[in-house]
Symmetry: C2
Subunit: 411 residues, 2 copies
């Protein structure tokens, strides 16, 4: 019937018993008449151990050697999964990145897949064999192993699904889908049956760490329906028990707001008394961009004094020191006072229905105001509104907004 | 100056600190002006863990998948060793079997190396880079990973040395050389400075497990001088602190007897009243050979009865059950009584000087007789004499012979 790619993350293949459990799911898909390619991560803990070995020998390791070392974890799982499938009477073989070949650029440690030669694998799938591909890795034009960065196996799975022309890519993980918000904060958060790529991208990059952002981008570009589902529940992918990430057109009932995301990994930087001349923003953000700092939210306020202005922006906390150093060295900002605050959280409401609905922002601002939550920065896109508030309001803000947009599951 | 291959076994690279220690030895060789290729085993314990995973999932695992899994251990070490060398300011890169390529036949799990394309590696060695090759593995013509069987990294090292035209292959391990006998039995056993390939083969296959037999055969055939030395002592290979395994012609003073080996892994099988007709031996050993039983010592006695004869032979203990089954099913042996004894030890004296010296056997038989040790079976070759005795005499026989041939080190 269909051709599907199923991917198992590290906890789903965390030990031999779990590999066997995952193999059972693959067998069930094969028995439904599907042709299946499997992508596996390293057994949980293995990659961390290998990274630790490299760091212990030299924190300044050669990324090519790091890749040769850390890619081994996935090689191990792929062979073990093939053995587990064969034991269940299913023809199967493992594939390592260089065997396929999964061609990558040579940005070792966070390479990008450039091409997949799926011909040999396709022939074997057609012959009824299950392919088990080691995720997270590929091979460069120089015949060296490259890895795709943390969470890269999701990207491998989506890229393989695109190359094989698969009907669907199922991402088995330890949660049973994408929720309207973090269930640890809102116990009545609701599992979404469907979500658009665009919303998922906002949810993922805003802190709902279910899928690697790059894999969602690739799925959107290649038009691969992606399902997030649990390895530890009984249903298999073909039963659609998880959350399907798909095209906006395939979602009949578009919610105005589909989820509330939050991100505590950003810090706020404020520049007071920046000379208010044309090009002032470029003077600030040019050097930050050169230093590879990912600036997120930006606002510029009109100051009391007409000759100067105030600027506020957010950066990842881990890039804050670099940010302060870069900004402190900008000649044009000599009279400027630099302040920063790590004690902030970005809370966002996300929904494709927003495009055709007014009043979404108003609901947000009113709800937060009622609880006495002060908004420090606002930024918006077509399908999301984000506000920066003091970190102490994290739970209150998320719960308030989740309720304000009626996202609760039925009791 | 020279080009050498150095190989580190599992205990020599057992953890990060030991990998660093091994890297120091490589650096010392490079600083002497040598061009160095390194072959590494898996960190000790890793291969066992991977084998255990395979067995746990399915004792009947597919050998191709087993190979894909267990070869990962060497991949990890090779990358870590390259990082450790780079940290020391030495240009280095890791190579996996498929990158070289180390071409093997497809007898997965115990493949043989058929060809090594050393061109790319040679060019890099010429440019001053250290090559770090993952041992124990190669790639088949079908582009699958194959492993060479336990201890296969020794074979990788020798094959690489031959392919590179290296001057020497140093096998770093946890002992500092080959001894006249097992020092646990004879504390005054003496380290040999040199030993011939032929003697080493007899010593290795007789139970002195320092080097994989196949690697010694290959070294002999390819004429690669092989040095066994300790990773945990200070001297490096170029100081010749270990035992050099080399051509007979390179050994000036040929000892009549160079070592006493023993082997407790064989069982004795006796067939009483075998019909004494031409072809009787073939009737017995043909089916055993067909069943892949490795028969070692064979003697045929004249029986009291002229129409029948007695036959005694030894087989590996782990092949004893198979042997008894095969022999029990031979039609021509219907009136034959089959006895076996696992409680035996084979003790051997080995020496190339034996070729030109008479009386070696006599010394052996007298020495054992004086201690009241009964010899059950005798077999001889050009450079060794082996006797089978009751297992309880193991230590006594080894010590007696070691003394009888004057092999003790000076006190």
């Amino acid at each position: 019937m269909g051709r599907i790619v199923v991917k198992f993350g590290g906890t789903s293949v965390g030990d031999v018993e779990r590999i066997e459990n995952a193999a059972d799911k693959v067998v069930a898909e094969v028995k439904r008449g599907n042709s299946v390619a499997v992508v596996v991560s390293a057994m949980s803990g293995v990659t961390n151990q290998l990274v630790e070995y490299c760091r212990k020998i030299s924190p300044m390791y050669d990324a090519r050697e790091y890749d040769a070392v850390v890619s081994s974890g996935e090689n191990i799982t792929s062979g073990l999964m093939a053995i587990a499938l064969q034991k269940r009477g299913i023809a199967a073989r493992s594939w390592q990145g260089w065997q396929v070949q999964i061609m990558c650029n040579d940005v070792h440690g966070k390479a990008r897949i450039e091409d997949i030669d799926a011909e040999a694998m396709n022939a074997r799938l057609d012959a009824g064999e299950v392919a088990v591909l080691a995720g997270f890795q590929g091979v460069t034009s120089k015949n060296r192993i490259a890895t795709l960065g943390r969470g890269g196996s999701d990207t491998t799975a989506v890229a393989l699904a695109a190359a094989l022309g698969a009907d669907r890519c199922d991402i088995y993980t330890d949660v049973n889908g994408v929720y309207t918000t973090d269930p640890r904060i809102v116990p009545r958060a609701r599992k979404l049956d469907k979500i658009s790529y665009e919303e998922m991208l906002e949810m993922a990059s805003l802190g709902a760490k279910v899928l690697q952002t790059r894999s969602v981008e690739m799925a959107m570009k290649q038009n691969v329906p992606l399902q997030v589902l649990s390895t530890f529940e009984e249903a298999i992918g073909s039963d659609y028990p998880g959350t399907l990430v798909t095209k906006e057109e395939d979602i009949m009932e578009k919610q105005v707001v589909n989820g509330i995301a939050y991100n505590v990994d950003e810090a706020k930087v404020t520049l007071l008394n920046v000379p208010d001349v044309p090009g002032a923003a470029a003077k600030v953000f040019g050097p930050l961009s050169d230093a590879n700092v990912n600036v997120d939210m930006i606002v510029q306020n009109i100051s009391q004094n007409e000759l100067v202005t105030d600027m506020t922006f957010t950066v990842p906390k881990q890039e804050l020191d670099r940010t302060l150093e870069v900004v402190g060295n900008i000649k044009e900002l000599e009279g400027t006072e630099i302040r920063y605050d790590k004690n902030v959280v970005k809370v966002s409401v996300v929904g494709i229905g927003m495009r055709s609905h007014a009043g979404v922002a108003q609901t947000m601002f009113n709800a937060l105001a009622e609880k006495g939550i002060n908004i420090q920065v606002i930024s918006t896109s077509e399908i999301k509104i984000s506000v920066l508030v003091s970190a102490e309001y994290k739970e209150l803000a998320v719960r308030t907004l989740h309720a304000a947009y009626g996202l609760e599951a039925d009791e």
